[in-house]
Amino acid sequence: MNSTMPSVQAGGDAVPQRSLFTLGAFLTVAGLVAFLAGLFGPHPQRVWQAFLINFLLWSAMAQGAVLFSAVTHTVKARWADPLSGLSEAFAGFFPLSFVCFLILLIGRNHLFPWLHADLHGKEIWLNIPFLFTRDGIGFLILYGVGWAYLSQDLKLKLRAPGPAAGLRRLLAGRIPQTDADLQRVQGRKTLWGGLYCFVFALVLSLIGFDLVMSMDPHWVSTLFGAYHFVKAFYVGLGALIILAAIIHLRRGSSAGLAATHFHDVGKLFFAFCLLWADFFYVQLTVIWYGNIPEETHYVILRTVTPPWNALAWVVFIVCFIIPFVVLINRRVKTMPHAMIILCGMVIIGIWLEHLLLLGPALNHEAAELPLGLTDGFVFIGFMGLMVLAVAYTLKTFPELLPPARQGAR
């Protein structure tokens, strides 16, 4: 190891323990059992709906969290250094996300209402082979770029082969030995980071159009893609804050995370709370002014018509009003317990928002909200997958944990 390499102390007691893997496995199995039971039950379309919503939510969370590291590195935001490693741990969910995307293909008959409908010329774009091919390629590029970025970052952080040497070696490759090597790796990291930001916007827009907006194939909002990737960053930041808060609570002031880190990332979370609401509002305003039936029916169905109208208000209050009012306060942003609750609430709110966007298209003439125990179990199943993915990544690469430090406040 060259003396110019950054000194990193592996996270000690913050490295995930066996109990965490047990918990993750238990949650995953519970979700899987509920999913399979629902699949062979009377309403398989409900289970596929829950699967799609959770796939979108948890994938967006992982993609958005990794974006935090890429963005802060690209703009040289040094305040984020202790948090960026944690955000990269979410890249462990990428392979699982891709597998879940492929599983959607099995449920295509329950998931795409346009499958046997007259699309008035949109068949060229909206057909299963083309949709899964382009989205699959999109995911592969996004996740490939994400892992390439992570690989360059690990080259800068790894000190020794450590556990799971194979995967570490595969990702980290040759550890830089000289200053010239170091400069080269840092340059590549910046390149891959910038590329990830760009691909993130493109691919998430495509996914928003294909897997959410297309459920109502005759409705169009050109800003929907941007709305989708802003939302992904919003939940990604929420997930990152929860992970950082849990590690801070476990390790205390030696976790390498100071109150200022929580304050800064809390401000970013606050900003994206506003941006999410802004992207909702700008679409609403344009549709309201235009007052074209082809556009207004989508909004009216979801905000005026029961049972969806109540859900729309819940989503707006949970994802915007409450976070906005609470996060004005500086101190709350530095309180890990409070931030876990708030970010958890926002994540559940975005889950409900996905239900609001997809539900009416998948449940025509619904008299009551299509919500049941199965939805909850599928949610915790995905949560289990995320726990396993993040815990495995942190166990394999403990250098991603913030370096322990003395005298943190």
Binding site: Y281, L284, T285, W288, Y289, N291, I328
Partner: protein, 168 residues
């Protein structure tokens, strides 16, 4: 205090100035004022000031502005009473833009007013104990002591690496 002398220590390093501020009281001198050519977190921390109330003025201004914006938009729409494109006279969705803009505007007003009130500006006191170098590259720490101890205070500043200016 009738026999009080004001002496300023001028430092090129903000860390030294911050350290002097912290040590003045222990040395038996009375700290009066600090001058900085830039916003300095280290000096702010050394001063141990209580959090200001300017934020409350900003918040109050923002809330007032939000409702004022809506009120203005509703008032003008009702005065015209003209239906455009079949939209209601009082349409809250577009009026939100006016409410938002007024929130920003009145937040700024509140902020400036709060700054003036909390800082008690304009304040012309203390100009006689100011050194123009504090607007250049020096951090000034003004302290007071009994006239008989002026020499001690000057020594104190000089030992800490500062230049000294005595105000008559």
């Amino acid at each position: 205090m009738p026999d009080e002398t004001f002496i300023m220590g001028l430092f090129k390093d903000e860390g030294k100035a911050a350290k002097v501020i912290l040590e003045l009281a222990a040395a038996g001198f009375s700290f009066r004022r600090a001058h900085s050519p830039i916003p300095s977190h280290r000096i702010l921390e050394a001063l141990k000031l209580k959090k200001g109330r300017v934020g409350w003025f900003t918040l109050a201004g923002g809330i007032f502005g939000f409702f004022t914006g809506f009120a203005l938009a509703i008032f003008t729409a009702v005065q015209w009473n003209m239906i455009v494109s079949g939209k209601p006279i009082v349409s809250l969705i577009p009026f939100f833009i006016v409410g938002f803009e007024f929130t920003i505007l009145f937040s700024v007003f509140g902020n400036v007013i709060g700054l003036l009130v909390c800082s008690r500006l304009p304040d012309y006191r203390g100009l006689e104990t100011y050194d123009p170098r504090c607007s250049g590259e020096h951090f000034g720490v003004l302290a007071a002591c009994e006239t008989g101890r002026a020499g001690e205070l000057m020594d104190f500043f000089q030992k800490k690496g500062g230049e000294v200016k005595v105000f008559a």
